[in-house]
């Protein structure tokens, strides 16, 4: 068995190695984009079909989550980022159930890319919200003494995002692989069902934590920035 931390390249484009998670991600991207194009062409404002109703329910629920978690009035600037993270992680996790395909999120590089995007989003949305000064002032809460710890926390929570997702997804894949190798063809099915649930939960947790971290970087003139969005008080545990 290969190390899960090592991703052998499938092929090379010049000197650049292309690994399986990248190819799988391209496939997921193609699937999502084509599906989005197909769906968006048949959207109607009058009486939506079942698929459109489900998708509208997804958007509405996502907007509700954003407004309640990030405590913003307009969820539109964050909808695409948070929603895409959730949908991609969910599809990436579930695609491991297909024979011969490994979940891209089971590789550390993909999870690092996701966490890195969240890290960048925190900075971008924080600066967009209150400017550079406003964003930097969020590190002063509750006092200037906490600046080193806040800086360290920004890095560690990004790291925890990566490790949490990687550990859960990889563990699920390992358990299913081990049981499959030991017990037989049909025995891992309950574990695969459980893995579907775990994958959905992990996608939800990753999206919620991304909202919490971004929300903590937004400047709010009437409330202390971390008082309501401190990730340690959200109740979400890894």
């Amino acid at each position: 068995m290969n190390s899960p931390l090592v991703t052998p390249p499938l092929f090379h484009i010049g000197p650049v190695p292309v690994t399986e998670p990248v190819v799988t991600t391209w496939g997921i991207m193609a699937l999502l984009v084509v599906g989005s194009l197909a769906v968006s062409r048949h959207l109607t404002r009058n009486v939506p079909g079942r698929l459109q109703a489900c998708l509208e329910l997804l958007v509405t629920t996502l907007d509700t989550q954003i407004t309640s978690t990030m405590r913003v009035e307009d969820p539109a600037p964050y909808r695409a980022f948070v929603g895409t993270l959730f949908v991609f992680i969910l599809v990436a996790n579930w695609c491991a159930l297909l024979p011969g395909i490994a979940a891209p999120t089971a590789t550390l590089a993909t999870d690092a890319a996701l966490a890195g995007l969240v890290f960048l989003a925190i900075i971008v949305f924080g600066i967009r919200s209150g400017g550079v000064g406003g964003y930097l002032r969020t590190f002063l809460w509750p006092s200037i003494v906490m600046v080193p710890l806040n800086l360290l926390g920004t890095v560690t929570r990004t790291f925890s995002l990566m490790v949490r997702l990687f550990g859960n997804v990889m563990a699920g894949a390992f358990v299913i692989g081990i049981v499959l190798s030991l017990a037989g063809l049909l025995v891992p099915i309950p574990l695969m069902a459980l893995d579907m649930l775990t994958s959905a939960v992990q996608a939800y947790i990753f999206a919620v934590l991304a909202m919490v971290f971004i929300g903590s970087a937004l400047s709010r003139p009437t409330a202390s920035p971390a008082a309501s969005t401190n990730p340690d008080r959200t109740g979400v545990s890894p």
């Binding site: 990248v22 991207m29 989005s36 968006s40 958007v59 695409a80 980022f81 895409t84 991609f88 995007l117």
Partner: protein, 245 residues
């Protein structure tokens, strides 16, 4: 921990592109559809609220109009009742006046006809009485001159029976009415006989009135003394009337 930096870079780019693509082709159209539907619903709700206000205003106006119509109806009914009462009273009064006028006209007609009938019957009775008296006189052989003398003698007795004051009035003059104008000799004879009764020769004005049938009458502005068949017939009629009543 070993991270494949090429894979990390690929995934960063891939995920960034995916976020942009889905944001453009999935999240934005869906959120636009939802926002558009919410706007439609809000607009329809506003329109419904506006329409509800209009309906409420129309309901209030209709209620007021209905109240006004009811009041107007009551007023019209009251006026019609008053007019009907006035018309009934006027019609009744007019009918009563017409009936009274008709009754009065009928009464006058009956009275006039009764008077005319009585007059006619009186004339016929008088004429009949005269005829009868004449036939009786002719049957008895008494002449008209004798009858006239007899009647004049009764006139002399009546004048003689007058009180002194009235006879004194007659001495100043009077009208002597005769049924048939007497001849001059008879006229002088009668004037002489009256002067004998009155004690002086009064101024006598002769007139003729056939309605006396036969006989004479002495007339002054305040006195009338008659001795004629007409007076006799009137006397008889009065007696008969008194006897019936």
């Amino acid at each position: 921990m070993n991270i494949d930096w090429w894979t990390l870079g690929f995934q960063l780019v891939n995920l960034g592109i995916l976020i942009w693509l889905l944001g453009r082709f999935f999240w934005r159209p869906l959120s636009a559809i939802i926002a558009g539907r919410q706007n439609d619903v809000a607009r329809r709700l506003d329109a419904l609220a506006e329409k509800e206000k209009q309906v409420e205003a129309e309901r209030v106006a209709l209620s007021a109009a209905r109240t006004g119509i009811a009041g107007e109806r009551a007023e019209v009914l009251r006026k019609a009742d008053v007019e009907a009462q006035a018309g009934r009273v006027a019609t009744l009064s007019r009918a009563q006046q017409d009936a009274a006028a008709l009754q009065e006209a009928t009464r006058q007609t009956l009275a006039r006809e009764e008077t005319e009938t009585r007059t006619a019957w009186g004339d016929q009775a008088a004429s009949l009485a005269v005829d009868i008296a004449r036939q009786i006189l002719s049957a008895t052989g008494i002449s008209s001159e004798a009858v006239r003398d007899t009647l004049f003698a009764r006139l002399e007795q009546a004048v003689t029976a007058l009180p002194l004051r009235e006879r004194t009035q007659l001495q100043a003059g009077f009208i002597l009415m005769a049924a048939v104008a007497p001849e001059d000799a008879d006229r002088r004879k009668y004037e002489t006989r009256l002067a004998g009764i009155l004690g002086t020769q009064p101024v006598i004005t002769w007139t003729t009135d056939p309605t006396l049938i036969e006989g004479f009458a002495v007339i002054t502005p305040s006195l009338s003394v008659a001795s004629s068949w007409k007076a006799d017939l009137d006397h008889i009629r009065d007696n008969l009337t008194h006897a019936r009543s």
